[in-house]
Symmetry: C2
Subunit: 615 residues, 2 copies
């Protein structure tokens, strides 16, 4: 396409954005119009992409970080011949693939769900990392950002990470239209302000007029020929560009144009240009690392091993068995134990430093490219990336997140380091799996099993040693549980997981000496829960006592309820959980103070069996 | 103190850090030793603080962002005469005030809990903002950061915010000891790398030798005399400084020194220097804005009003009534409706742009200084600040967080904008309150009531209009509920909140026409829940059906269980919640597709009353 045609294409993208939002009665046409010329030049001149083969390993990858500009994206799909013009009219309607913010669940050309600002660039960094270090097929990653979202700290985690890793296959394009949702941004059209920041973080920067197609073309060319560092193109644009009644005006964010027909006429009317997008270069398949034999670590019953250690060993073994497994850590690999994977598989280990948002975003980017990422940090610090995990669940990204140092059982470090909300956070994510092993063999099995699940998979590990209670031959299906103590005379069922399992067993032993038999269930699969076992236990023992090293809301206690919310009779339920604010103390003192140790379980058991009401 | 004495004081702080960690058998002495000279000069020469009056309005404020260096902080307290030498030996022990990471719950001189890295500077920005814009008592804010934590995006949200607000009362001191937990940082001792970044963000930067007390003294002096912008002092230091066996060595993070006695001898032995810390200047009290009369907005029954609108109007009215109320927003004030407060009380409104971590951190900083902050953004985007809310709960900070656009009811924008995990997130925080109003008068009352609660208070508001069902005279105690339909013949209780309340009422009406009477409870207080009403409903109707615009985990359904976990018989419980991934659609279509509208409630009611098992 020549320059005049590019101008026309830009106008077409504007017209189609206006049309889509008008048909929907909502949406963000003005935020689309500012970036239309950038998108036109990218699509027609620089992107290499086969829309019929979105899985082509040589395809460039495009991420619309400013996800609210979805009309522009869909208009581009039409221009590329990927969707019909008529589909634009379904925008934001029930059942349409063209959602308010793009999601890969619906559209094969969308890499990652966006709409929570400041996430597209971090995920783009993850994709570019995969391209650079794992695949080497030469694809480029293009991320279209808004200017408002540069206020998000996650953007600067991404900027730091990308420059440090020399991601010259990554180009960020910033649509500097100077207007946020409710008014001007901090820096308006001061492109230099943004350039200084990106330069300081090690990026190559280009400032351009975002409505001059030739200047944009030169900028993209310069970006693709820059080596050794990522490039950001800072494009001065006008929100609502091309329609005088809305151009560069406040108060029009997220609203259809007041008079769409008039606007379309002003833009020169509808067009039906079709762009022949460049083919990607031929490229070989992913996962150059061959699979090896799988030999998960095994442990002897009675040994004492921290589940975090078993995780580290199992992950390293899984890395040997599977070439698609990669590991990431937030600069605590000596604590989470990903260090073993890093040592054995350095090419597939990604140090993300203390930047948990980028840690999870990198994992999402790897998953987008077909790898199987395990990203680990302290359970407490995964809360830092909650929004990234939330968006990953919307994407349907298959990522493994591993939170170590769960609960008060960590001991002396105190509450800031204790994961006490993580089960609630991960249970509440759509389609998630939540696993909480209590011993080393169980951990090893679950680490391997989680690799092949869908969606967000969370593994909770513990800092301190726990006894190995299962043999290496034992299997632990996701959605299952283990009944560790059971008799025909059980008068109560204790449901435990992780560090509270040995406490429950000790309590059962103590009560048995008093003539009280109780059932003990190891609910290692917190989501989904083993409904059958819990229901049977309820029927046979009448009362369930849950014991967890987590706040009482949203964790194990609430999870057990999942087995009884179909209208059937519910057993008596009692919860032991962390209800006070812990301080520093030894692990056993912590469990005691929180009332979740063997003593507390036995005491509750006596009361419940005696039919007394406790709390 | 002269230079030689400052050197001695630095050594004393090192010795006491080593002693505390040795007594504890854990802790971070090497991370304390690198910053000891910085702390010595600050304490003896620049900090203005009355340890006997931590509430003194003229006190400078010190935040230890690298919270793991707590031994240094406690050693400084000893040097200032605030604690006895003997207390150092209680470090990290059960019941001690000297926790692994400092918390204000235990120590009056700690402004905010730290230990999750990258949070001290953002909270310091909040305190400095309060000092600059609300109090004007002239105090300075000093934040001691680690170098590793500069990888956190939240630090750059803070850097951006501080420079934009010209916070020349803020000094960040970075202890660049080049070593993180598991090895070298990205930039090692390259102070320029950090200086470039801070300069680009608009800060005055000073590079210094962090072990030269005279150079440090000059740096602090330059920082306090810099106007118009915040200052960062980048101090080149050595981890473990002063003890050859650990100095500048890897693999020693978070560990007591191998031979404490030898190390203490090498450091010149124990000392008992006492520093006379400068007195703060005389200062007047906080909250210069006088209280006015309180006239909360009222609405007529039958009108249709969005609860977010009622929130905005009530907050503005509360701002008139109370001079201590401040509001903050994440650049969506036209959506959350804080814009009304911003218009009426511009001096007490803080625009935080799209940076939710800094939004919450600013609120924490305001709360630290005795103000009553309301921070608002979309409920979905508050997940971005989960770790900040978690740490605020550890601090015991009294902050009000308001999440708008809850649930699928927002309609066309799609899942990225829908708060579907927020109830789980906020319920799981220690000591939190979770409120979810369904109508405008209820919202107004709750907005006022939450101001005086302890801890984290969360209010969930809705985008669309809902009918006003309560009169303005109605009262809504926190921990209460409202029974909206009740009869002697109720065969089921529907528990709803927010947008599902009108749906539940419509279902009750439909069922009544079929001869089925059901009870309807408006559970506006999700945490704490109204145990009495729920238990009575269970007794009288036998079955509870919860209906919520939230994922099924951790929200209303789980909250109801709180009323029945004391061992008493549990009623039959059934949950209607969002179980599928929503797309774009109109609000009523969304409620229908999720199975939480009147039709779904009525259908479930019929089945349950007919004793059938549903799901």
């Amino acid at each position: 396409m020549n320059s005049a045609e590019l101008v026309e294409l830009g106008q077409q993208l504007r017209v189609d954005s206006v049309r889509a939002a008008a048909a929907a009665g909502s949406g963000h046409p003005t935020s689309s119009m500012s970036a239309a010329d950038l998108m036109a030049v990218l699509l027609a001149r620089h992107l290499r992409y086969d829309f019929e083969r979105p899985d082509h390993p040589g395809n460039d990858r495009f991420v619309l970080s400013k996800g609210h500009a979805s009309p522009l994206l869909y208009a581009a799909y039409k221009a590329a011949g990927a969707i019909e013009d008529g589909e634009l009219a379904t925008f934001r309607k029930l059942g349409s693939r063209l959602e308010g913010h793009p999601t890969p669940r619906r559209l094969p050309w969308v890499e990652t769900a966006t709409g929570s600002l400041g996430q597209g660039l971090p995920v783009g960094v993850g994709i570019a990392l995969a391209g650079k270090r794992l695949e080497r097929t030469g694809y480029r990653v293009w991320v279209l950002c808004g200017d408002s979202e540069l206020a998000e700290g996650s953007v600067w985690e991404a900027a730091e990470h990308a420059a440090y890793e020399h991601l010259d296959n990554l180009t960020a394009i910033v649509d500097v239209n100077r207007l946020g949702q409710r008014g001007p941004t901090r820096h308006g059209h001061d492109l230099d302000a943004y350039a200084r920041r990106f330069q300081a973080f090690g990026w190559h920067t280009i400032e351009t007029d975002g409505h001059d197609v030739d200047a944009i073309d030169r900028a993209f060319g310069e970006a693709t020929s820059t080596t050794g560092q990522p490039t950001v193109i800072l494009a001065r644009t006008l929100k609502g560009k091309g329609v005088a009644s809305v151009e560069d005006r406040e108060g029009l964010h997220g609203k259809p144009l007041p008079d769409a027909e008039e606007a379309i006429a002003e833009l020169g009317g509808p067009r039906d240009l079709v762009v022949r997008v460049q083919e990607p270069p031929a490229a070989r398949l992913l996962h150059a690392v061959p699979d090896g034999s799988r030999e998960l670590p095994t442990y002897d019953k009675g040994d004492k091993v921290a589940t975090r250690n078993a995780f580290g060993a199992a992950l390293a073994a899984l890395g040997t068995a599977r070439g698609d497994v990669v590991a990431l850590d937030g600069e605590v690999g000596d604590s989470t134990r990903t260090e073993q994977f890093a040592k054995e598989h350095p090419d597939r280990f990604f140090e993300c430093y203390i930047a948990e948002q980028q840690l999870v975003a990198s994992a999402v980017g790897m998953a987008v490219r077909g790898h199987v990422p395990y990203a680990a940090t302290f359970a407490a610090f995964l809360t830092r990336a909650h929004d990234f995990a939330r968006m990953a669940s919307i994407s349907g990204a298959g990522i493994n997140l591993v939170g170590s140092h769960a609960g008060v059982a960590i001991g002396q470090d105190g509450p800031s380091q204790m994961g006490l909300e993580d089960l609630a956070m991960f249970r509440a994510l759509y389609g998630s799996t939540v696993l909480y092993p209590c011993d080393a063999n169980q951990t090893a099995q679950l680490v391997a099993a989680m690799a092949d699940l869908d969606g967000i998979r969370y593994l909770r590990t513990s800092r301190g040693e726990t006894p190995v209670i299962y043999g290496p031959e034992e299997r632990f299906p996701v959605g299952g549980s283990k009944v560790l103590r059971s008799s025909g005379e059980d008068r109560l069922t204790v449901v435990a997981a992780g560090v509270t399992v040995p406490e429950a067993l000790a309590a059962a032993d103590a009560l048995q000496e008093e003539g009280i038999r109780i059932r003990v269930v190891d609910l290692y699969s917190v989501k989904p829960v083993d409904r059958e076992t819990l229901r049977l236990a309820a029927e046979e023992t009448g009362c369930l006592l849950t014991v967890e090293d987590h706040h009482e809301e949203g964790g194990l206690g609430d999870a057990v309820l999942d087995a009884f919310t179909d209208g059937r009779p519910v057993p008596r339920l009692v919860r032991l959980a962390v209800r006070t604010m812990p301080g520093s103390a030894a692990p056993d003192e912590q469990l005691n103070a929180a009332g979740i140790d063997a003593t507390a379980i036995a005491a509750a058991g006596r009361l419940l069996v005696g039919e007394a009401v406790v709390r």
